[in-house]
Amino acid sequence: MIETRTFNGTTLRKDFPILAQPTSRGKRLVYLDSAATSQKPQAVIDTLDRYYREYNANIHRGVYEIAARATDAYEHARATVATFLGVHSRDVVFTRNATEAINLVAYSWGNRNIGSGDVVLISELEHHSNLVPWLRLCERKGATLRYIPVDANGRLLLDDLDERLRGVKLVAVTHVSNTLGTINPVEEIIRRAHAVGAFVLIDGAQAVPHLAVNIAELDADFYAFSGHKMLGPTGIGALIATHAILEEMDPFLYGGDMIGTVGYHSVSFNDVPYKFEAGTASIADAIGLGTAIDYLTALGMDAVAAHERDLSAYALTRLAELEPRGLAIYGPRDPATMCGAISFNFADVHAHDLASILDTQGICIRAGHHCTMPLMEKMGWSATARASFYVYNDHDDIDALIDGLKTAATIFKV
């Protein structure tokens, strides 16, 4: 049993070296862009350091000591991912990030299973990474891309879902919206999609870092996420899928480590998951992701989710104070059904200008379309400002944000 560590954002700050250093203008770093990428605790940085200093070696084939140690650590990281998400190790395929995981499915499963006249159903909330691969697959195959609509508050409209599911082969939906923070009812979507025989891919890039996720219980056919958004290094993510599907699926990239036997004119492939991991893996980064998950596990994902609900609630309250001055808050505005991110605009100050002014005060937020251009277009927003939270944030960070917004209002005379 791992001992759970009680925490609040303030107590965790010291685990994150980047948060300890002042900005170039001598300000406290207020990092509110974790939906883009999270900061890394010392433990993860140490894991990378130790790997390169003590046992860096190529994996799976080396007979010598450090190669065995590297292989064990890499496979142990895979087991850590599996346990964390309630699946079996052999069904965890390491990729660079969620984007590669989704594209892997679009190429390997999609090319064989989506044909002319088929329908792929996604939602209007999707990140480009869970939209463009399907748009292009449908173009290539003469298939139809259909959308689950979203209401003005960023909630999926599921009333007509059964209607929309007609003829659908694959549903691909985000678990949590990166722009609005909406937590989608993916259990329900999966259940109803399975009822008509459709496969379901869940984009978990914004869910795995913030919520307790059990992929086996969800019963998703495919589940994708990125390590860098959950305290892990850049360069590592995973696709998790049902074993039978992985067994049947064509490989994606071809090369070293994913083969069984190779002749000049014939080839057979390695077992799942190795047949999907061609070439030298991001070994250090995978091992680092394992450490990130250990860190989160010690906090407890329920506690992480509760912490973020608290931050969302506090941020919504404080932002509401500025509504009379022209601040507009988007999305569900309900801490219980959102997570991690709040989008807003402030009077006629463009989001980029807000972000620049906040930057001078050490506050990092994101401004723009958040890789959800069609959603922005539909909502009629040319850009939004987004503040997003994680384990190391606290009420002080949100207070700093509010003060920064007030400064921006003064500068822009709103």
């Binding site: 006629d348 463009h350 989001a351 002014i357 001078t360 040319s382 500068i411 822009f412």
Partner: protein, 131 residues
């Protein structure tokens, strides 16, 4: 950066000069800043003398992109298309003053890039990449 938002910048942002479209432009171009989605269109009218007789810009974006486009349009009447095509980033930097952060440079240069594209008749590279 905060001192970048001086009164005349905000003035151009809120009341941009030469804003709108031309009915029958000689040359036109429209582009999006891929980094933020901001979009600017520039319409040019060239007279029989080969000189820019009129200019309009339209689009949506931040104070930096809108104000620099607005100030730019004030300056190009009477130039030849060749002169417009040769404009460098210095014209923008002189207009908006110093203090623009590197991350926002593409915002400041968007109007210039679109204007040069209109003049050249193809997509111009980012003015800050010419350096």
């Amino acid at each position: 950066m905060d001192d970048f938002y001086r009164d005349y910048i905000l003035e151009h942002y809120r009341n941009p000069h030469n804003f709108g479209k031309l009915d029958a432009p000689t040359a036109t171009a429209e582009q999006t800043n891929p980094l933020c989605g901001d979009r600017i269109r520039m319409d040019l009218l060239v007279g029989d003398d080969g000189l820019v007789a009129d200019v309009r810009f339209s689009g949506k974006g931040c104070a930096i992109s809108q104000a620099s486009a607005s100030m730019l349009t004030d300056e190009i009447r009477g130039k030849t298309l060749e002169e417009v095509a040769r404009l460098g980033k210095d014209v923008i930097l002189e207009n908006v003053g110093i203090g623009i952060s590197p991350t926002r440079m593409k915002c400041a240069m968007l109007g210039l890039r679109v204007l040069k594209s209109a003049a050249i008749g193809s997509i111009a590279s980012w003015p800050d990449e010419d350096a």
